[in-house]
Amino acid sequence: MDSFLSAIVSVLFYGVAYGMVLYVISVGLSITMGMMGIANLAHGVFAMCGGYVLVTALAKYQIPFPAALALSFILVALLSVVLDRLLYKHIYAAPELEQVLFSIALIFIAIAIARIAYGTLQQPVMLPEYLKDQFTFLGRDFPTYRVFIILFSSVLIAALWFGIENTKWGAMVRATVDNHAMAQSIGINTKLLFSVTFALGGGLAGMGGALGAEIIAIQPTYPFEQLVFFLIVVSVGGLGSLKGPFLAALLIGVLDTACKYWIPEVGAFFIYVVTIGILLWRPMGLMGKRA
């Protein structure tokens, strides 16, 4: 019985860590899709880039971990700005099919560049000594890095939620997600707002990818393989919502970990069934405003 309990605690723990990483990566997608209604399937590219930045910074340039993490945010946010100004602005108003194809094109290009630059293998993450191994708490061993993920993500998420609820920027974001046309007519520069938010979302995705590099392996096929999970988090959570995807991410994280632990033969099967079920019951997501 004790080992079963122990297993549950482990599954919950690993699941929550995974879920938090999923959320940090996906939250930007939820907000920007809710704001502009753009089907951006290439979001995983940002997470992958963040992962590559971290891995390269640690292994090749011996940059200390905190700096490397910060770099993953900054560089990917910059990349988002560049891509937005150069490419994304052409498809803001395009029909859904075009947006989907556009994102697929970006994914192809990103995968190719990653393959050319880094090869096809998974990138090893050189964690600093103080984040390796485990530490003991209340008589149990917890892997240090997972604890770090949970704590760090919590801080990030708290800061994000505080920002959305209490800053002017946050109020403008909420207004634009709620009613785009109305927001424009009361003078909100939605284009600028979107670019800023897009950069923030991209940066967060990069940081999430970096943070989760141990859990979600950094390799060229990342954007294709992980796309399903990011989209599940956003659509099950609810487009444009902040808290919904958090719930969805935790649910997915724990469910996936539980399945992999207890019924590995079944794989991600249940995740998909649950997703389909939830979307049938609530097409707009658990906390979404539009479908």
């Binding site: 094109a105 970006l106 190719a112 998909y272 997703t275 997501g285």
Partner: protein, 324 residues
């Protein structure tokens, strides 16, 4: 040139429409070493046609159409390898029936939703099918694929040979049949109503058209055609691998269709032809650059050449006419 088909459109066959079939027969006689690639192209053209029907004409964007392609392929493979059913016509029929049921069932779910949720559902369903194919190893062969697929002679007469002659002609024949059916469908009142639904779904509802019912019919039919295409691939290769099912082939066939020209029948012919020939030549030589090339080409098409190859051909035609 790419005027939407309407109630006044002339549906008589144009001269240019004989070209693909003449070309296909020429290939059979002149390029006997390429019949394997040829059969694959013909199959993917059929697959692309089915996607064109549901996305190009009816306007339903799906990222999971390969669920049907894959299920059709695996149905054929499993019936042959595990149950010893080897008649190619029977196998095609079985794949068609299974995919009809799957298409109808998933269509009921998918068509009730819109935009992102709909996209997500199509993706989730394809991912689900992939996962089953991947994990149900005793039945599907799992990651190693399904071997032991034996296909009997067509109509008891034409054996599947190593040179792929029978496979090629078989695929050509099936493609011809479905091309004819789909072409009639597109020019029929039902087809034009689908076009109307894509143009303005709300208004169609307001004029009393049972939109979801019509879309469901189209979706189910598209699933059947994709399933038959999948079965053909299995019959040609006598093998089923994970590459026929899931999100990646769904994305790939969408890319092929767009490159050819979405929303027109022959876009589904040109796209896979160009893509697979290029892939056959380039991907083997420079695999990393293949993805890069495809990505850039897709980007250019989306931004500047929305009509794909056929769209560019149209523009050239206009230009030449203008010069006269």
């Amino acid at each position: 040139m790419n005027k939407l088909i309407g109630f006044q459109s002339n549906s008589r066959l144009r001269m240019a429409e004989f070209l693909p079939w003449i070309l296909a027969l020429l290939v059979f006689f002149v390029l006997p070493d390429y019949l394997s690639l040829g059969a694959q192209i013909l199959t993917y053209i059929l697959f692309a046609l089915s996607l064109d029907l549901i996305t190009g004409y009816a306007g339903v964007v799906t990222l999971g159409h390969a669920a049907f392609f894959g299920v059709g392929a695996y149905t054929c493979g499993i019936l042959s390898a595990k149950l010893g059913i080897t008649d190619p016509v029977v196998l095609l029929l079985c794949s068609a029936v299974v995919c009809a049921l799957l298409g109808f069932g998933t269509g009921l779910i998918v068509l009730r939703t819109q935009k992102l949720t709909q996209l997500m559902l199509t993706l989730a369903i394809a991912a689900l099918c992939y996962e089953i194919a991947n994990k149900a190893t005793p039945i599907t062969g799992g990651a190693d694929g399904l071997t032991g697929v034996v296909i009997g002679p067509v109509l008891g007469l034409f054996k599947f040979d190593f040179l792929n002659k029978t496979a090629y002609l078989w695929c050509l024949a099936i493609l011809f049949v479905f091309w004819y059916v789909i072409r009639r469908l597109i020019y029929s009142p039902f087809g034009i109503t689908l076009t109307g639904i894509k143009e303005n779904k709300q208004r169609m509802q307001a004029i009393g058209v049972p939109v979801n019912g019509y879309l469901l019919k189209a979706y189910t039919f598209a699933a059947v055609v994709a399933g038959v295409a999948g079965a053909l691939i299995t019959q040609t290769n006598q093998f089923v691998g994970l590459n026929v099912i899931g999100f990646e082939p769904s994305g790939e066939i969408l890319v092929m269709l767009i490159l050819g020209g979405v929303g027109r029948i022959y876009g589904a012919f040109v796209g896979p032809l160009v893509y697979l020939v290029a892939q056959d030549y380039l991907a083997k030589q420079f695999p990393e650059y293949w993805n890069l090339g495809i990505g850039m080409m897709l980007l250019i098409v989306v931004l500047f050449a929305k009509g794909g190859v056929l769209g560019i051909v149209d523009k050239l035609k206009l230009y030449w006419r203008g010069k006269e």
